[in-house]
Symmetry: C2
Subunit: 202 residues, 2 copies
């Protein structure tokens, strides 16, 4: 008996790499795919491999992309004078879904967290500074989460940006409307749109 | 802008083939894999492909297996005189998890449902009859769900088995303990073990 080594058991194990999927759901997923959607499962296998092999970070904004520059950075219709700084690619998607932002982004891929060894370099703040220096950027909207780390990161960014020589860049934070302690990714679009409209100077 | 065709969007779409996974969770899964577990995602891609390409049905019991006979059918230590008839591979796994059954299985892969065109042939009842005729089977435990279709299927099986010539096969049903309308797959192991121990003649 080597039940543990069967392809089905391997699949049930591998499915548990998905967040929120335990043994029981993984088993249910495996049976569902075998029973009813082998084609979908093969497409998923293929798309997982392509995505993991080919998706890297945009050279300009650090968002995920399979190209050297992401689609938003490549899009010349987007306003380059406004830069929205977010924690994660999921936050870019959340803001895009409001349809009320036409500027560009910079993705930190985290927040400052000195105790975890995450300093300014790890979240690309040098790269952000260079971007502000070398482009026509006039305004920075810091859209980090309303958490302790998010606030600390926002203030740090504000200091850096206002230290750029020979340039006056306004720095704002998302308006009241983001719940205290809330994570951007889970906000509804209309609250998020309101927060963008009412952004406040910091 | 061809945002819809990016590898990330393709992956978010493909992940929705998983049961219970909508757009929002698929997005969260994709970001989690890209951020934190590319290795797990590649292993999942690989295991999905192997499973979908290679897993078929056991020639004897119809359970899922990549071999011609599944591990339980191949296992000579399992008692061949008792055959437990279940609706699905998930039910085999549920009964195995009780650790209180040492016989073999037959998997219907469904229930009788004439209105949906699922008759005796579709759930392998000819094959089940042949199995009873040609092996040392002495007892059949019908472990279909306590639903209308499950009960109808159980009675149909009982009639077929008791019609096998020159052989006295006892047919039982899982004991009281399976909740009315309940599906086997979601039962806790101890209720299921109790139901096996108290199985009743039908
Ligand atoms: Zn970019
Ligand atoms: Zn088998």
């Amino acid at each position: 008996m080597s039940q543990e080594k069967s392809l089905l058991n391997k699949l049930v194990f591998s499915l548990q790499c998905l967040p929120g999927v335990g043994r029981k759901s993984a088993q249910r997923m495996a049976y569902h795919l075998l029973d009813k959607d082998r084609e979908g499962a093969l497409r998923l296998a293929n798309d997982l491999k392509s995505a993991m092999d080919e998706i890297g970070n945009c050279e300009r904004c650090r968002d995920y992309t399979e190209a050297s520059l992401c689609e938003i950075c490549r899009n010349e219709k987007r306003n380059e004078q406004t830069l929205c700084v977010v924690e994660s690619p999921a936050d870019v998607a959340a803001i895009e879904s409001t349809g009320s932002y036409t500027g560009k982004y910079f993705v930190l891929m985290g927040n400052l967290s000195p105790l975890d060894g995450i300093g300014p370099d790890e979240i690309g703040l040098n790269q952000l500074k260079t971007l502000v220096e070398q482009t026509d950027c006039q305004e920075i909207i810091v859209a980090t989460s309303a958490t302790v780390e998010g606030e600390a990161t926002a203030h740090f960014i504000s200091t850096i940006v206002q230290g750029v020589k020979d340039k006056q860049v306004s720095v704002s934070r998302l308006a009241q409307g983001v719940p205290i302690g809330g994570e951007l990714e889970y906000l509804d679009s209309s609250t998020l749109a309101l927060s963008l409209a009412n952004r406040q100077s910091i």
